[in-house]
């Protein structure tokens, strides 16, 4: 079995020590510092330490608080705006209503009342002319017949006038 061949023992052990210790020395002096340097640099940059975490948490908390404050401010602002708007519109409406009532409405009212009076007056005149020979007991049918006869009279009068005018025109 080659493993138990004593001749090779010293050579193998010697070269093992040589390469193992040489490897240890090279790693210890050159490469372990470099690797640990890049790792610690990365930790610092990324802020993976506890301090970084705590400050990040605080910042997060602060941002959330500010955001909530901003929201509440915005809410109160919008509320006051709405209230102002409503009060202003009601004021405007009431003032406008009173002015309109004072200025326009009076005129409209008087003219309307005038027109009412005129129509009722004209109706009364019509009834007076139409209902000269009215009996004591006045029924609607009698009134209607009287109105129709009055209308016919008016229509006949109109047509007479028209014919007279046309005669005059043809004469000219």
């Amino acid at each position: 079995m080659p493993q138990l061949d004593k001749v090779t023992f010293l050579s193998q052990f010697f070269w093992l020590c040589f390469f193992y210790l040489g490897f240890y020395y090279v790693i210890l002096k050159f490469y372990l510092p470099k690797i640990s340097r890049i790792l610690s640099l990365r930790q610092k940059k990324m802020g993976f330490s506890n301090q970084g975490m705590i400050s990040l948490q605080q910042e997060n908390h602060q941002v959330r608080e500010d955001y909530q404050e901003l929201l509440s401010k915005a809410l109160t602002l919008s509320k006051t705006l709405f209230n102002n708007f409503f009060s202003q519109t009601t004021n405007w409406l009431s003032t406008n209503a009173t002015t309109i009532n004072k200025t326009q409405y009076q005129k409209v009212n008087t003219s309307f009342v005038q027109s009412l009076g005129e129509t009722s007056l004209s109706q009364n005149v019509l009834f007076y002319h139409a209902g000269k020979n009215l009996p004591e007991k006045l029924t609607f049918k009698i009134l209607q017949d009287n109105l129709q006869t009055f209308k016919k009279q008016q229509a006949s009068k109109k047509s007479q006038n028209l014919s007279q005018e046309t005669l005059k025109k043809t004469k000219k």
Partner: protein, 249 residues
């Protein structure tokens, strides 16, 4: 000529060096040790050129993973007091890992499949750990051999038992690695010998030679796992022994 499966472990001297009665020849074992340590040094050199990237490249990420793995190992086993031993543990782990893995390449040589290499390494480390224990604790280190809470009547028997068990640690550490490596390579050699012989006979056996070949294929994967695992086991046991020496249980 009958080839034995143990022939792959033969030591061939490449550059004979003789000092009187002592032969310190540069053998194929030394060549493969040089190859594995040289490859690791070249890898570290290429990765840490210009200090390495802040956002690591692939190889740099692999090297950093090995570094952080060994850091976690040392911190877990020994704690703050063992920081001084970190470079030693790191170099042991990488040395064994790469030496074992290079042996898995077909037609190459596994330096750790020789009892001298593994036993020499484990005995040296064991002596170092004991010396560290004596340095830290002085003669109080012998209290390690009598566990707490044991009745004093049993003391003589228990001390001898503990002493033997303690000294056996050195032996077991080396022999474990040697046996795993040698057994794995011998098995692979035997099975591939089967495949070759079946193929050379011809006929239906040539077709059936695919079976040993697939077994060799699967076994190579297993052996790669065993190579990594044995390096890890060696390293973690060294950490545990160092922990026992520094923080007496």
């Amino acid at each position: 000529m009958i080839f034995t499966p143990l022939e792959q472990f033969a030591i061939v001297s490449l550059i004979p060096i003789r000092l009187g009665n002592f032969y310190l020849s540069f053998t194929n074992s030394s060549l493969y040790l040089l190859l594995s340590t040289g490859l690791v040094v070249i890898l570290f050199y290429l990765v840490t050129q210009n200090g390495g990237f802040l956002v690591p490249s692939r190889w740099q990420s692999g090297v950093e993973m090995i570094y952080e793995f060994v850091v976690s190992l040392v911190n877990e086993q020994i704690g703050k007091k063992g920081r001084f031993a970190f470079p030693l543990i790191f170099t042991t782990f990488t040395f064994l890992l790469f030496t074992n893995l290079i042996g898995m390449i077909p037609y190459s040589f596994t330096a750790t499949s020789h009892l001298v290499v593994t036993f020499g390494l484990s005995l040296s480390l064991f002596i170092g750990v004991t010396l560290v224990g004596f340095q830290v604790h002085g003669l109080h280190f012998f209290s390690f051999l009598l566990p707490k809470g044991a009745p004093l009547v049993l003391a003589p028997l228990l001390v001898v038992l503990e002493l033997v068990s303690y000294c056996f640690r050195a032996v077991s550490l080396g022999v474990r690695l040697f046996a795993n490596m040698m057994a794995g390579h011998t098995l692979v050699k035997i099975l591939s010998g089967f495949a070759w012989t079946m193929l050379s006979v011809g006929g239906s056996l040539a077709v059936a030679s695919v079976i040993p070949f697939t077994i060799v294929f699967a076994l190579t994967g297993l052996e790669i796992g065993v190579a990594c695992l044995q390096a890890y086991v060696f390293t973690i046991l060294t950490c545990i022994y160092l922990n026992d020496a520094i923080n007496l249980h």
